[in-house]
């Protein structure tokens, strides 16, 4: 399985490093053609408005929409979650394939960014929490019936799964703990 990492803007290199360490073949996805060569996709952290502008301007929308509808496995972190969410506040265009409502910059500006423990659902091996790096982070305010919550920041869902989509409002790529990436590779079918 070849895992693409959307490399338009943001901390995509950090994701690529974790995936490679976990034993996955990884490619940087800079064009819609690169997307065709990917069996799974990571939507990294960065600025969601920037990535959205580039996707729109460079003719990605139809192709990515089709791949998502066809069940492309996706790991989305922070800005990536906003791109997939059904409902976004303040409003911004999104693919809407993940049945959650998300509030952008919900905790405030950078002075409110923090490293906070994320409590994991039963089923993850290892410690019951993992380090959650929240940078100008969004907050999930509603989850649909098909969405499983796998991690919490306080009472708010911070790690969720719907089918083959795994989404974290924090940055697992910025810690040595690679359980989220390994879980995603397992869900996507690339790691037994």
């Amino acid at each position: 399985m070849r895992c693409g990492v959307l490399a338009l803007q943001g901390d995509w290199e950090a994701h690529a490093r974790v995936l490679e360490r976990a034993g996955s073949e990884t490619i940087a996805v800079r064009t819609p053609e690169d997307l065709e060569a990917s069996d799974a996709l990571v939507l990294p952290g960065g600025e969601s408005t920037v990535v959205l502008r580039l996707l729109e301007r460079e003719g990605w929308m139809d192709r990515l929409t089709r791949r998502l509808a066809a069940g492309l496995p996706v790991l989305a972190t922070c800005a990536g979650v906003i791109l997939l969410a059904r409902d976004v506040t303040p409003p911004q265009a999104s693919f809407g394939v993940l049945d959650i409502a998300v509030r952008r910059n919900a905790y405030g500006r950078q002075v409110a960014s923090a490293i906070v423990p994320v409590r994991l659902a039963a089923g993850f091996e290892g410690p019951p929490t993992m380090e959650g790096v929240f940078i100008r982070a969004p907050r999930i305010e509603r989850v649909g019936p098909d969405v499983d919550v796998l991690g919490w920041r306080g009472d708010a869902p911070a790690l969720v799964r719907q089918g083959r989509i795994v989404a974290a409002t924090f940055h697992p790529e910025m810690t040595p703990d690679d359980r989220v990436h390994r879980y995603f590779l397992h869900v996507a079918g690339g790691l037994s």
Binding site: D11, V50, N105, Q110, I115
Partner: protein, 296 residues
């Protein structure tokens, strides 16, 4: 000794990581900030006058007026940065109170302290600082900067100084990686940089924080050049709003930073941009006119 594992520092560097592969644009009004955001800016830098105007008009250049910063924060959802004068710890505290997302302790403004920079460890808000060489970069990181940018020559529309600074930093990093460990203290003395940071760079072959480029970017090709020389993002000051068609040029520079490895794409992006800002011949500037000489 600096502790890069300190959560407070990691969160600061975390935002810098999120800005990678993006363009940070100088803006002076809410309208300009909207144009920048719509064009795909990863962040905006709020300031009173763009560097080209500071250079032309002279006088003391200070932190942007508070109402301007607030107006810009209201107008956009992307991070808002603002500049304080070198060593002006009060402007820095006020910008932090305004909850700007990043402070640029910048040589573009008139220095407030000719000896000392701000002790950036004491702040919750992250700082970016300029450098001309590795020693300067490591002194700023030693003071707590979470992001480094080359100084270039702001407001000149001329990329030559940014290239000089990028190449110098990269060459000095490479040099450290091939030195014997017994040579590192002498090299730290030479660079005038903290010894522990010199050792860190020698071991890792990179700076401990992201390294962006700034100062003189006027075209998509200039931005592409900075990326080719190892910059991880680009700051554009006067180059956008001193050009004839800011929105189009801004979008093209964003595309060039994303696709810097694809010259065909950057060629297409460079079509129909109108006139760039006019540039200055650096050789004709007097030392006093060189903004990059401010700070140490």
């Amino acid at each position: 000794m600096m502790n890069f594992d300190d959560p407070k520092f990691r969160v600061k560097v975390g935002l810098a990581e999120m800005l990678k592969g993006g363009v940070i644009m100088d803006v002076t009004t809410a309208d300009q900030a909207k144009i920048a955001e719509d064009a795909g800016a990863a962040a905006v830098m709020a300031l009173e006058r763009v560097p080209a105007d500071i250079r032309a008009e002279g006088g003391v250049a200070r932190m942007s007026p508070v109402e301007k910063i607030r107006e810009i924060q209201e107008a956009v959802s992307i991070p808002v940065m603002a500049k304080c004068r070198i060593g002006h710890i009060a402007e820095a505290r006020i910008l932090e109170a305004l909850e700007v997302d990043f402070i640029d302790e910048s040589e573009v403004l008139t220095p407030a302290d000719e000896e000392n920079h701000v002790d950036k460890h004491r702040f919750t808000v992250p700082f970016v600082c300029g450098c001309r060489n590795l020693g300067e970069a490591l002194r700023r990181i030693g003071e707590g900067a979470a992001l480094i940018r080359t100084k270039g020559e702001a407001g000149s529309g001329n990329i030559v100084e940014a290239v000089r600074h990028l190449r110098t930093v990269q060459r000095q990093i490479k040099t450290l990686t091939i030195l014997d460990e017994h040579e590192l203290m002498a090299e730290a003395k030479e660079l005038q940089a903290p010894y522990e940071l010199v050792c860190w760079v020698a071991e890792h072959g990179t700076l401990p924080v992201p390294n962006f480029a700034a100062g003189g970017v006027a075209t998509p090709a200039d931005a592409m050049l900075c990326m080719m020389l190892g910059a991880e993002s680009v700051f554009v000051g006067s180059g956008i709003f001193k050009s004839s068609d800011p929105a189009t040029r801004a979008g093209a520079i964003v595309g060039a930073v994303t696709h810097w490895q694809d010259p065909h794409k950057v060629a297409e992006l460079s079509v129909g941009l109108g006139e760039p800002m006019s540039g200055l011949d650096i050789a004709k500037l007097t030392p006093d006119e060189m903004l990059s000489r401010r700070g140490w």
